[in-house]
């Protein structure tokens, strides 16, 4: 009698094989979906570069559009305008957002924190065109469009982003730092300004940069507040100021191929700024996380 073991077939068959095939199919689908998303990004960026780069030149960045919209002009008016509008918006949103975040993490009683957070998150989710209509009703009706109105509209878009980002990083500042400072007899406000904010600085800057990148490309809040502008470079925020997003929007709706060309080049400028800013924010975030030991 020879010792014949049970007939074991180690090759998967039947049910197991089917389960493995299903598994393989699902894994492939997941991979394909991710590839698809990356491919769309690449296609968008590549088509903006391919169509925008030929007309992008020093001249394009530094000269005003031609008087009658013919080819050969530049977008310096829109670049200056966007820089000023977004700058002013940041100057409004950053202090308010950070202050609100400090209140929520340092002072607010627990039962207030959640409702305020919900309101801030809801504000972040509101359609930006509604914000544009709001500022239009508040500042433009009965007056006129102005760069300032655009800035305030953008600051409302930025506010929840800044507040949320600041709150998240304030929460990961180690409690021991706070307690050490308070134990030394340092008052609350000086603890916040002298110990907590410097520790959280990197994270707050990250949030601010991301908010700026978002605001720079926002079009809807500016349509109602600063969209009827001249071709000249203007630094007067009490009047409508040219800006890149509205310029792209208006040019893209025209049937004129030369304007489309300018729109692509302007889009390249905008997308380059936005993507570089988000990359920088990401790098900053990684650094400040490391510093905070997270």
């Amino acid at each position: 009698m020879s010792a014949v073991g049970p007939d074991v077939n180690l090759r998967p068959g039947g049910r197991l094989r089917r389960r493995r095939i299903v598994n393989r199919i699902m894994e492939t689908l997941g991979t394909l979906a991710a590839l698809l998303a990356v491919a769309v990004l690449v296609i968008v960026v590549v088509s903006v570069i391919r169509r925008g780069a030929p007309s992008l030149s020093w001249h394009f960045l530094t000269s005003e559009p031609n008087l009658f919209g013919g080819p050969g002009g530049g977008i310096s008016n829109a670049i200056v305008g966007t820089a000023i509008i977004v700058g002013v918006a940041t100057a409004i949103a950053l202090p308010v957002g950070v202050a609100a975040a400090i209140y929520l993490t340092e002072f607010a009683p627990k039962r207030i924190v959640v409702p305020v957070q919900v309101v801030i998150d809801v504000l972040a989710g509101l359609p930006t065109i509604v914000v544009g209509v709001f500022i239009y009703g508040l500042l433009v009706v009965g007056h006129q469009q102005s760069g300032l109105a655009g800035s305030i509209a953008l600051s409302i878009v930025m506010l929840p982003l800044v507040a949320r980002a600041a709150q998240e990083v304030l929460l990961i500042v180690p409690g021991s730092l706070r307690e050490a400072s308070l134990a030394l007899g340092v008052s609350r406000w000086r603890t916040v300004l002298g110990v907590i904010l410097p520790t959280a600085f990197g994270g707050i800057v990250t949030g601010a940069v991301l908010a700026v990148a978002r605001a720079a490309g926002e079009t809807a809040p500016l349509l109602f507040t600063t969209s009827i502008f001249s071709n000249a470079v203007s630094t007067d925020i009490s009047h409508a100021m040219p800006n890149i997003p509205v310029l792209i929007f208006i040019y893209s709706e025209q049937p004129d191929a030369a304007l489309h060309q300018d729109a692509w080049a302007a889009a390249l400028v905008l997308i380059a700024f936005v993507l570089v800013a988000s990359l920088c924010a990401r790098a900053l975030l990684a650094r400040s996380r490391r510093k905070l030991g997270r």
Binding site: E27, A34, V40, I102, P127, W189, T219, I228, F249, I271
Partner: protein, 305 residues
Amino acid sequence: LDRVGDGLFHVVTAGAAVLCIVVVGAIVWKVFDLASLAISYNGLHFFTTTVWDPVHNHYGALLFLYGTAVTSFVALLVATPLSIAIGLYLSELAPRGVRGIIASLVEMLAAVPSVVLGLWGILVLGPFMAQHVDPVLHDTLGFLPMFSGEVGQNGLSLITAVAILTIMIVPIVSSISRELFLQVPNDLEEGAFALGATRWEMVRGVILPSARSGIAAAMILGLGRALGEAIAVTQVIGGATAFHSSWFAPADTLASKVAGNYQSASTKLEASSLIYLAAILLVIGLVVNVIAQIIVRRFDPTRAK
């Protein structure tokens, strides 16, 4: 001095928090204030009228409600499985080395300004859809009313708007899903593997059930984004004058109607009626976001433990 400083600091920061709430309140008040003329003129009839005729002062929102509903829900329907798959890939499948890079790239897609996406939509995606995608849909699914219509030349149509919206909400939903999947406790995943489950069985049996409510919240947030997107949709949807059952025809959403007609409104009533549309959008936006927040907070997996 310290006590004064503390008090002052407390008041100033509390003021900033109050300001955030005031802004939301002021938005609601002002938008309804501006729309009040149209609300009293059109009343609730507004919701059941498809005509938008400024010359004869007939205004109705139904066409735009339809456009908003179809574009947003179809985009969400397409984007959700894609986003979940991407989230799963990024949290479970991707090799460690490329994981971070691909996650960053997907988030970069969300950073592309909508006006740039819209420009690309008009000049690249629209023509591509009209030449390559729409005819295929027409030929294979032409028995359905939405695909039976004639395919346009330039692709400025409802279906192109759906495609653009899908591109916009996929990165949002997928990065939220990824975070959710990463939060699922490892013990559970390993337990499933130890029982001999394949990776897909582990995903279906462990990850998806425990992330279910989070996925719902992510979907609602994506829906909110799609409902409210004005610029890119305005650029590609073409503008509607009448109701079309075909998705290959131009249409309009609430947001695109407001954004597209902002300068051409010639009478107070027309302007107010446009803002009435914005007010509807505002209410929808508020409701959608509050629901998402409630779900997020009730089922937050980090706090459930």
